[in-house]
């Protein structure tokens, strides 16, 4: 059974596939460490691993609003990362593949954007977190 999470974020409505999404928590205290990558606010221990907490600038130019007080913990090829979100809209089970529109209606697309996912009358930007991380500019 697959599922998908729908959220409000600084980059607008976001959708993340369930196999990436681990948990949503209140934004924890982050430890800033030297030579942190761009967009990284710090790290924190979580369930035996170290999670890299990202700032809302990880979404790129699409980030216009506040970061929010929640953090979405995701499993990626680069380890566990936390993305800032404002609100959990819904986490739903999916039956089969939902079609999505590949062209955005307008405005900036967040990094890692795969397409728009219509849900409850709104378009949520479906993002691939691994691609988001790859698209963060190197210093």
């Amino acid at each position: 059974m697959r599922f998908c999470g729908f959220f409000e974020s600084a980059a607008g409505p976001l959708a993340v596939a369930g196999e990436t999404l681990l948990e949503v928590i209140e934004r924890p205290a982050l430890s800033r460490l030297p030579l942190a990558p761009p967009c990284c606010l710090g790290v924190f221990p979580f369930r035996g691993q170290l999670v890299v907490g990202l700032g809302h600038d990880c979404f790129g130019d699409a980030a216009r609003g506040a970061a929010g007080e929640l953090m979405m913990i995701c499993a990626t090829d680069s380890g566990m990362v936390g993305l800032p979100i404002q609100k959990v809209v819904r986490i739903v089970h999916q039956d089969g593949n939902r079609p999505f529109v590949s062209e955005a209606a307008g405005g900036e697309r967040p990094r890692g954007w795969l397409g728009d996912y219509p849900f409850e009358g709104r378009d949520f930007a479906l993002i691939d977190v691994d691609q988001l991380l790859e698209q963060i500019p190197r210093p």
Partner: protein, 160 residues
């Protein structure tokens, strides 16, 4: 001198299993005790030398049996520099470079590594550049980057 590097003679732990916790500014760092030849507190006026032909990153010397070059690593770590009036020099014993000094604001303590929770450096860190740390370790609620002293010195000197 604050302490010699023979930490394993001071307790039952092997020096390789001990960590010297120190700070540069507000940033907590650590090194394995088995690379530390000694800890020295110096006056800033004794240490900082300008107008001399110093190696890159070297800010002065301390006089031991031979002069030991002291390096300020804050710039390569992109953190606030050492500001203590009486900073501490960790004399590092390197099999490649011999003795060299790492400038710090203060030494916090020496702890057994088994008392620290430990993680590898996040892969995301390493994808964005050279990271002169071997581990991230937590003690008393604080995360410390455990320095790879050989890599750190190479970065300070601008070596590949």
């Amino acid at each position: 001198m604050l302490a010699s590097g023979k930490f394993d003679s001071l307790c039952s732990e092997d020096a390789a299993d001990l960590r010297v916790l120190f700070r540069i500014g507000a940033v907590p760092l650590s090194v394995p005790a088995d690379v530390v030849a000694g800890l020295y507190q110096v006056g800033r006026h004794e240490l900082f030398r300008s107008g001399e032909n110093l190696p890159r990153g070297c800010i002065g010397f301390i006089d031991l049996a031979t002069p030991v070059e002291v390096f300020d690593v804050a710039a390569v770590l992109r953190i606030e520099p050492v500001t203590a009036d009486a900073p501490v020099v960790l004399v590092i014993d390197s099999p490649v470079d011999g003795w060299w000094g790492l400038l710090a604001d203060r030494i916090d303590r020496v702890v057994a590594a088994r008392r620290m929770e430990s993680w590898p450096i996040p892969l995301l860190w390493q994808l964005h550049g050279t990271v002169p740390f071997d581990r991230i370790e937590q003690f008393d609620g604080q995360l410390h980057c455990c320095c790879n002293t050989q890599q750190l010195l190479a970065m300070v000197k601008g070596e590949p």
